[in-house]
């Protein structure tokens, strides 16, 4: 990790925010220290006053993973790091009982305001923690259908650090938990304006779409004919094409917690079945197959023994003729 310039506001902000030890509904101090430095902006926004010039997005995302992560998922994590110029990478974290507190500390130490934690279990299943720090909320996802950027089928390419456009499907606005997720995703995945590592052009677009209660992620490169840099050619918008860059994944929300890396459960996915369970079910099915076979065999035998065939009286009628 390169050394970061310390901004005085960054250094003081986390210290100023109290640790979220409770989830009391009344919270006088808003815990979004990303734009906390000018506290005047916050109440003004509540009243609907102009905040535009004061608002500054200082989001920083810590990206780490658990130990013993599989290479495929590690590549996915690295893809995310390359996609988010405002991300900081950290070394792997041991997935222990106390990893929540350790991660909280780490996030605070790196002065980040949110965290993406890739947790790999049984070197099969990938869980993704999406956390707003320090006051929460945090979401735990199961990650499915992972395709990394390295795959040769995904032919697009775009500038590293250009700010993505975020598109959401409209069903994000239908239910409260989706609304919350949308806000979190926006804050984590949108590159802050005028970030020092961000490039000034827009040449890729993120897709977040809810299909079948899963959030599907896609990343496309935008190729549009243009000669000037502030205007698309006439009719260029119709000629615009997108090329997929990757990565691809599908997030299945499991739980939403009130705090960061823990806290009271606010939402639980009623349809969620853990991969462990699915595997167990499959195994049991397989085991059942053999058991039924054996049972059927035994039953048949018993049946045959009970109903023995009577000896046929005409059985040796033609015996003497040979």
């Amino acid at each position: 990790m390169a050394k970061k310039r310390k901004r005085s506001s960054d250094a003081t902000a986390p210290a100023a925010v109290p640790k979220p030890d409770d989830s009391a509904p009344e919270r006088p101090e808003r815990t979004l220290f990303g734009f906390k430095d000018d506290s005047a902006a916050e109440p003004a926004s509540k009243d609907g006053g102009p905040v535009g010039p004061f608002f500054r997005n200082k989001e920083k995302v810590l990206i780490t993973c658990s130990r013993r992560i599989v290479y495929r998922y590690r590549h996915l994590m690295q893809n995310m790091v390359s996609l988010l110029p405002h991300a900081k990478k950290d070394s792997k974290v041991e997935a222990k009982q106390s990893k929540g507190s350790a991660l909280n500390e780490l996030v605070e130490l790196r002065s980040c305001s949110s965290c993406l934690f890739f947790e790999c279990r049984k070197s099969k299943d990938l869980y993704l923690w999406m956390v707003k720090s320090p006051a929460g909320p945090s979401v735990k996802f199961l990650v499915n259908a992972v395709h990394t950027m390295e795959e040769l089928k995904l032919t697009g390419n775009h500038l590293k650090g250009s700010r993505p456009l975020l598109t959401f499907s409209s069903n994000f606005d239908q239910q409260p938990h989706w609304k919350l997720l949308k806000e979190m995703i926006t804050q984590i995945f949108a590159t802050p304006k005028d970030h020092r590592k961000a490039k000034p052009f827009h040449d890729h677009v993120f897709v977040f779409s809810i299909v079948d209660d899963h959030i599907w992620f896609r990343n496309y490169q935008i190729s549009v004919p243009h000669n000037e840099i502030d205007k698309v050619d006439k009719g260029g918008l119709d000629k615009m094409t997108l090329v997929e860059v990757g990565p691809r994944f599908c997030l299945n929300p499991i739980k939403i917690f009130g705090g960061s890396f823990g806290g009271p459960v606010l939402y639980e996915n009623p349809f969620y079945v853990s991969p462990n369970q699915i595997r167990a079910l499959e195994k049991r099915k397989k085991a059942g197959k053999y058991a039924t076979k054996v049972k059927a065999k035994v039953r048949r035998k018993m049946h045959e023994m009970e109903n023995t065939l009577e000896p046929d009286e005409f059985a040796d009628l033609w015996k003497g003729e040979d």
Binding site: D22, A41, N171, H202
Partner: protein
């Protein structure tokens, strides 16, 4: 956390607030909660009897707190769009997850529509947002990786072309077979017709009673042995090595077959084949009459 029980499950509306009081009030240890959740899952493994389609009944859904949290973390409402760059897209009808093509198409249209609208917004706000052609910077995928992608695309294209060619060749072969069959049929027909005509002529002649003499009609004396005897000694214009006895040149067979016949079949001694005759000595077809000037590969000493 309330342990889930799956023994009985009833179809529930998802919008129902599936919150019971204990869930509302519980204030638990903040950290390590995820682990307890894992244990919970493992205990479920043992209990079994779970179906994916049915929602679990005890699932917590605390709407008020969710919205509260959302308010906590949300950016000010009138924040400039340039900060967020978000576009909402109405998907229309529901997308089937298992239909890969349709699903990807839905994502693509969402991205395309979103980008168009975003670009319109960006254009109207007069920002410089399109990358100039001479702006070179680091990309997310390295050049070597892009090279590999290109190689794969090319090889795929080549494969497709080759397959197409093979298909074409197969088709043309099939057609050639058909043409050949047609030809054979025609030939058979011709043969039949000629035989028929000869028969007819003969009948006519017989009816005429041979009265008019031998002059009308072709001179064919099939009757005697004489007619079928080949004169072995006099074969004018036949090479001594020609095992077909000169028949090869006259027959209608293909060139290949004829040459093979003259080489291997139809009588005659084989040894004579290698001797020169007056004809072959005068045949200059095998020579390059323009001399050696054309042949560059050949070395002259």
């Amino acid at each position: 956390m309330v342990p889930r029980k799956h023994a009985k499950m009833v179809e529930l509306e998802r919008e129902d607030p599936m919150v019971d009081d204990e869930a509302m009030t519980d204030d638990e240890a903040m950290l390590g909660d995820d682990d307890s959740d894992n244990e919970d899952i493992e205990s479920e493994d043992d209990s079994g009897e779970e179906l994916q389609a049915e929602p679990s009944r005890k699932a917590i859904y605390n709407k008020e707190r969710l919205l509260e949290k959302l308010e906590d973390i949300a950016w000010p409402e009138n924040v400039d769009w340039m900060h967020k760059l978000t576009i909402d897209h109405d998907q229309g009808e529901k997308v089937d997850v298992n239909d890969d093509l349709n699903r990807e198409l839905a994502f693509y249209t969402q991205a395309l529509d979103g980008t168009r609208r975003a670009f319109e917004k960006l254009q109207s706000s007069k920002v410089r947002f399109l990358r100039p052609a001479d702006y070179y910077a680091e990309m997310v995928k390295t050049d070597s990786h892009m090279h590999r992608i290109k190689g794969r695309l090319l090889s795929e294209k080549k494969k497709i072309e080759e397959a197409e060619e093979r298909k074409k060749a197969r088709e043309s072969k099939k057609r050639a077979k058909e043409v050949q069959a047609e030809k054979m049929k025609e030939r058979a027909k011709e043969k039949k017709e000629s035989i028929e005509s000869v028969k007819k002529w003969r009948k006519q002649r017989q009816q005429g009673g041979f009265a008019k003499g031998k002059d009308d009609g072709p001179d064919l004396n099939f009757e005697g042995d004489e007619g079928f005897k080949q004169s072995k000694k006099k074969r004018p214009g036949v090479a001594p090595g020609d095992r077909s006895g000169g028949l090869a040149k006259r027959s209608k067979q293909g060139k290949n077959h004829r040459s093979k016949d003259s080489k291997f079949g139809h009588g005659g001694r084989k040894g004579m084949k290698k001797q020169n005759t007056a004809e072959t000595t005068n045949d200059f077809r095998g020579f390059n009459q323009r001399g050696e000037s054309q042949n560059k590969k050949r070395k002259t000493f």
